[in-house]
Every structure is written in structure tokens, then in C-alpha cells.
């Protein structure tokens, strides 16, 4: 009996987080539109796009490596679903176990690799350039991201996401900034939208994808829009223990603020070049993350 409950709650969690992700994505687009004096698409436009894509024909280019081309989107999607199940909601990690924070970091890498491999297998020069940019992004972005998350783990003295989320501290503000900047890159929004830079390389990594395969990537992207801001709120911002509903509202509120700030950043910035992106992450953000790591290792001992 317990296994059915477990599965049922997991499915419910994934569906709800998908909707929240869509909502965050839609609100972000709407906000950017308002900043630009546009009316903007309906808030549920990302969902409509996915539903439309699911009913469209899937074209597999002749120059592609077919099995890899078909499997890669689902690797990315599966990785993101796993990530969503590991994200703590109101201080509880439903699927939690000791060491899950390490798994979570690897799962995010796996999601990016799903995109890179699919793009490389599609045989289009635009995708190849997009894939090489995505790799650069992956290398330069995941290092500060991981260091920021791990310093949160050091401060909480635990490798379990649930314990980190329950640990309320103000020592993580530098790391929060580092994580937030990495989140912008992970979400692929301006000024870091280099791997699908429309005017340069068409749709970049997604150029050859269509129909259901593209929908799989889009769904993964919606999950990303849920997982990263929610993780930001849970790991880095102090959420006092005021009962599950209150904590959930607070976490959603913090995540929402992160989405709003990302919309502001998107509205005021042009696109970086890829060397600017890696410079930005490997100099500025990495320094922030290392400072946070130093704080995490030194301060608790002093106290």
C-alpha cells in the first residue's frame, strides 16, 4: 500500500511543479513584455506551446544520428524530473536521502548533457555551434554553482537537502548572490542566452528539433523554471519554521521574487558573447562562491 501512496504523491508533485514552472515562465515573459511596452503573451503561453508541439509532426533530419537524436531530449527530461523530486518543498524533501545534494548537482549536469548530445547528434552547423557554447556555459557555470550549494551544505553540516533547507542562517547571502547569477545562466535568459541565440545561430541547440522531441525539451525547461528558483529559496534564504503551509507560501514567494528580478535583468541587458559569459562566471561569480566557501569553513568555528 505504501508504495502506491509514494508513487501517487510523486506524480502529483511532478505535475504541480510543472504547472508552477509554467506559471513562473509565463509571468517572466509577461513582465519582460510589460517592461518593453508590449502587452505580451498570455501567462499560460508556455503550456499552450507545449500542447501544440505535442500534436505536431516530429521531423528527424537525415544527417542526424537517429537513436541519439531521439533519446537525448528524454534524458534531459528525465534528469529534470529527478531534480524536481529532490527539490525540497516547505523544508521537506520527499525523496530525500543522505548525499542527495551531490546527486542533485550531477542531475543538473546530466540535463545539460542531454541538450548538448542531442544538438551534436542533429548534424546541423547551427546546433554544433550551440552545443559548443552550451559546453562552455556548462563548464564555467557549474563550478561556482556547485561551490555555492556545497558551502550551504558545509554550514548546515549535512549532505542532505532537507537538513540544508531547514537550517536557517544569514551566513549564505554571498552564496545566494552567486547562485542567483548562476541560475540566470542555467535558465538561459538574457544576457546569457548564448546557446540558443536566435539572431546568430537560429535556435542554436534546438534548431533541428520539432514536434514531441522539442516538447520534451520545453517541458524540461519548465521544470528548470520551477526547480532552480525553488531551490534558491530553500537552500539560501532563511525560511522560519512556521508550519508547512506558511513555509510553502514563503518559499514560493521568494522563488517568485527571484523570477521577477530575472525578468528585470533580462529586460535591461543585451546578449553576452560566449567569452564574456565564461569570463563573468569564472572570474566574478567564482570569486563570490569561493568567498562563500571561506565563510562556510571559517565562521562556524569562530562562533
Amino acid at each position: 500500500m505504501q508504495i502506491y501512496e509514494f508513487a501517487g504523491i510523486s506524480v502529483l508533485l511532478v505535475l504541480l511543479s510543472f504547472l508552477v514552472g509554467i506559471l513562473f515562465q509565463g509571468i517572466q515573459r509577461k513582465l519582460v513584455a510589460r517592461f518593453q511596452h508590449r502587452i505580451g503573451p498570455p501567462v499560460f503561453q508556455p503550456l499552450y506551446d507545449i500542447l501544440k508541439l505535442l500534436s505536431k509532426e516530429t521531423i528527424i533530419p537525415r544527417s542526424s544520428v537517429k537513436p541519439v537524436f531521439v533519446i537525448a531530449p528524454f534524458v534531459a527530461l528525465a534528469a529534470m524530473v529527478t531534480a524536481v523530486l529532490l527539490v525540497p518543498v516547505a523544508g521537506i524533501t520527499f525523496w530525500g536521502f543522505t548525499g542527495d545534494v551531490i546527486v542533485l548537482l550531477y542531475v543538473f549536469v546530466l540535463a545539460s548533457i542531454g541538450i548538448i548530445v542531442g544538438a551534436s547528434a542533429s548534424g546541423s552547423p547551427f546546433s554544433a555551434v550551440g552545443a559548443s557554447r552550451e559546453i562552455t556555459l556548462l563548464i564555467s557555470l557549474k563550478l561556482p554553482l556547485s561551490i555555492a550549494v556545497l558551502s550551504a551544505a558545509f554550514i548546515a553540516k549535512s549532505f542532505s537537502i532537507g537538513a540544508i533547507a531547514q537550517n536557517n542562517t544569514y551566513l549564505l547571502l554571498v552564496g545566494a548572490l552567486a547562485y542567483f547569477l548562476c541560475m540566470l545562466g542555467e535558465l538561459g535568459r538574457a544576457p546569457f542566452h548564448v546557446s540558443e541565440a536566435e539572431t546568430e545561430i537560429v535556435e542554436g541547440v534546438y534548431t533541428e528539433y520539432s514536434g514531441r522531441l522539442l516538447a520534451a525539451y520545453k517541458i524540461a525547461e519548465s521544470f528548470r523554471f520551477y526547480a532552480l528558483p525553488m531551490l534558491f529559496a530553500a537552500l539560501f534564504l532563511p525560511i522560519p519554521d512556521i508550519g508547512a503551509p506558511g513555509m510553502l507560501v514563503l518559499q514560493l514567494g521568494f522563488a517568485f521574487i527571484a523570477v521577477v528580478v530575472s525578468a528585470v535583468v533580462e529586460a535591461v541587458s543585451a546578449r553576452f558573447k560566449i567569452q564574456h559569459v565564461s569570463g563573468f562566471y569564472l572570474k566574478g561569480v567564482l570569486a563570490l562562491a569561493l568567498i562563500q566557501m571561506a565563510i562556510a569553513l571559517l565562521v562556524p568555528k569562530a562562533v
Binding site: P125, T199, E200, A270, K273
Partner: protein, 389 residues
């Protein structure tokens, strides 16, 4: 990344004829090594419409209409070139008031064209907000153009011997009010384009065209002026009322995309000044002269289009139609310099470099270039039908 497209000499990336960075059909093949561009080849001729031939079958009034439809953005400047040619051959005296009205419309067109360009430039470097802001400012001048001439793009206000209607006094008030508002917005755009750190990283030192190269490759207009080549038809060979107006020719030394941006933005301010002056100094009197006949003869005329020098040649045989008409638009002169600009740049710079010359392919294609190496071939209609089966 290793893909089939990658070869020993580098990967070939096709940009165009259909690509999000291009508004019009034009084809570039870039050879890239990683992100670095190591070679470029371009191909024109996708938009050849046979306008020169069509000109020979229209009478002089219809030709004016057709000339205005050469381009969709700088339409008025082509009409100006045409009427100047006709007036030169026919020795038509144009009332000074008409010349001032033409100057005002031509400068309004420059403002709308440069603002349109500013928006596109923003979009090419991934700055969608800038695109929206520039185009919102552009609507001000578009509204005025519609009010003054009756049309937003193809104004239809020129005629051989003058203009169709004068600018009404009420419209002058509106225009001056909008120009004041526009000046503020241009100030803002100038601040963003020249001071924003991310934009500066994208445009400063990118796509450099040296002064020597600009001269050698015959660049015109803002593209040449941004490289320090001091040419401007409005000052060098004054037409309309430009000789009586006081304005500066904007020059820039760098020759990079930043320079071409700065020249255009600062020219916007000059245009506002020119319009205000012309409206103040506009003489009273007739605005058209219908007493003309065009004899046998030939003439050339040039105007400073928003993109550079626009050149028209007309030959007449004494009938009511031209016997030969030749058009050289500024874009065709500015395309070869792009090859020098692409040297050692990155893929990310390609769109903004193409955009920085403000290409207008629709009005550019006069001839189809044939591949000398013989790799392309013509397909007859019969063969096409065979392929369909």
C-alpha cells in the same frame, strides 16, 4: 563539437537567404574555426525585380511612383533622385518652397530609417527592450509623416516640378512638438548605445573598417563616415534646400560598429535640427510648377539616402518615357566593405556586423551575379517541371 559538417578547413555556416538575423534575402557562407570567422563568401541576387527595365515602359508621372517603390524604408530618396533627373533634363524651375518641403520630408525619412536601424541593431545583439524603445520613438515620426504626406512609408508627395501639397500650418505645430519629444528619446538612446557596458562589449572594436579600406572598397554614407571618410552629398553637392541650411557632418574615427552606431545616433540629432531650421526658414509662394516638358537628354543625380549616396541615371528620347534608367543604391556600395569587417571576428559578431551597414537588400538587387567558378547552374522551367514529377 564533431559533426559531419566540420571539415579540416573549418566548418561552413550558412547565413541566409532565410535566417533570423536578416530581414531580407542575402546569402553569406562563413567558414569558422570554433567561434572564429576565417572566411566569408556572399551571394546576392535573390530579390532582383527588374525595376530598371520596368521604368522604360512607364511615363514620367508613373516613373515617379515606381521610383518611390524601389525601397520600402528609404523610399522618398529614390523619388527625389528621379524628380531631380527629370527636372534637370526638362530644365524645370522648382519653387523654393517645394525644395524646403522636400528637405523636411527627406530628413524625416532619415530619422525614421535610423531609428528603425537602432531597433534592429538592438535586436541583433540580443537586446529586445532596446528594439521596442527605438521603434516606439520611431512611431512619433511615422505619425508625423502620415499627417504631413498622407502615407507612412511611400509618401507620394513628390512630383516633377514640385510637391503635391504644402505642409499645413497645423501640421507644422504637431511636427515641432513631436520633434521636441523625439529629441529627448534620441538623447536617451544615445546614452544607452554609447554608455551601456554590455552593449559596449558587443560593439566597441568589432567589425573594424579602416579609413584606407573604406576608401578602397568605396563605402558610402554612415559606414564611410564612421571610418573617418568625410563624405556627405548634402554638403558636397547640395540639392534641395541643403545649401541654405546649417548642419554638421558627423564623423567618427574608430571604424567599428560602435562608430557606425554613434554616427547614426548623432545624425538623428542633426536631422531634427535641419527640420526645425527648414520649417523656420520656409518661404511662402507656390509649391508646384506644372509647366514642364521633358525633351531628349540625359542626367545623373545623387542624394544622401539614410544609408549613403543614392545615384540615379536617366536618358530620355523625347517621348513620354525614359529610354534607359540606372539605379545604384548605397547598399550595393556598402556590401563589399563587410568582407573586410568580418576578418577575425566571431560568430556572435556576424549579425551585428551585417546590420551595421544597414543593408537594404530590396532596393539593392539590380543584377544577378553569376558564379565564375561554374559551380552554380541555371535550371530551366522545363527541368523544374521534370523535378516536380
Amino acid at each position: 563539437m564533431v559533426t559531419e559538417a566540420k571539415t579540416k578547413e573549418g566548418m561552413k555556416i550558412p547565413i541566409g537567404p532565410i535566417h533570423p538575423a536578416l530581414e531580407e534575402p542575402l546569402h553569406f557562407t562563413f567558414t569558422v574555426d570554433g567561434e572564429r570567422v576565417i572566411g566569408v563568401d556572399f551571394r546576392l541576387g535573390y530579390n532582383h525585380r527588374g525595376i530598371e527595365k520596368l521604368m522604360e515602359s512607364k511615363d514620367f508621372n508613373q516613373c515617379n511612383y515606381l521610383a518611390e517603390h524601389i525601397c520600402g524604408i528609404c523610399s522618398y530618396t529614390h523619388s527625389c533622385c528621379y524628380v531631380q533627373n527629370a527636372e534637370k533634363i526638362g530644365n524645370v524651375e522648382v519653387p523654393p518652397r517645394a525644395q524646403y518641403i522636400r528637405t523636411v520630408i527627406a530628413e524625416m525619412e532619415r530619422i525614421h530609417s535610423h531609428l528603425l536601424w537602432a531597433g534592429i541593431a538592438g535586436e541583433e545583439i540580443g537586446h529586445k527592450s532596446l528594439f521596442m524603445y527605438a521603434w516606439k520613438a520611431r512611431e512619433l515620426i511615422m505619425d508625423s509623416l502620415e499627417e504631413v504626406t498622407g502615407n507612412r512609408v511611400n509618401h507620394g508627395i513628390n512630383r516633377v516640378g514640385g510637391v503635391r501639397y504644402p505642409i499645413e500650418s497645423g501640421h507644422v505645430g504637431h511636427l515641432v512638438g513631436r520633434l521636441t519629444e523625439l529629441y529627448k528619446r534620441i538623447d536617451y538612446l544615445e546614452k544607452v548605445f554609447l554608455k551601456d557596458p554590455i552593449i559596449e562589449r558587443r560593439v566597441a572594436g568589432v567589425g573594424v573598417l579602416t579609413k584606407d579600406e573604406a576608401r578602397k572598397l568605396c563605402a558610402v554614407g554612415p559606414t564611410a563616415r564612421a571610418s573617418g571618410v568625410d563624405i556627405d552629398v548634402r554638403r558636397d553637392d547640395p540639392y534641395f534646400a541643403y545649401g541654405e541650411l546649417d548642419f554638421d557632418v558627423i564623423l567618427w574615427d574608430g571604424g567599428d560598429v560602435l562608430g557606425r552606431t554613434a554616427v547614426r545616433i548623432l545624425e538623428l540629432k542633426e536631422s531634427v535640427k535641419i527640420i526645425e531650421q527648414a520649417l523656420r526658414q520656409m518661404p511662402a509662394g507656390p509649391y508646384k510648377n506644372d509647366d514642364w516638358k521633358i525633351p531628349k537628354g540625359e542626367a545623373v543625380s545623387r542624394t544622401e539616402a539614410p544609408r549613403g549616396e543614392d545615384f540615379h541615371y536617366m536618358r530620355t528620347g523625347g517621348s513620354n518615357k525614359p529610354t534607359r534608367y540606372k539605379i545604384r543604391t548605397p547598399t550595393i556600395a556598402n556590401i563589399p566593405p563587410t568582407q573586410a569587417m568580418f576578418k577575425e571576428e566571431q560568430i556572435a559578431d556576424i549579425p551585428i556586423i551585417i546590420a551595421s551597414i544597414d543593408p537594404c537588400i530590396g532596393c539593392m538587387d539590380r543584377v544577378s551575379f553569376i558564379d565564375e567558378r561554374g559551380t552554380s547552374r541555371y535550371v530551366s522551367f522545363k527541368e523544374l517541371r521534370m523535378m516536380k514529377k
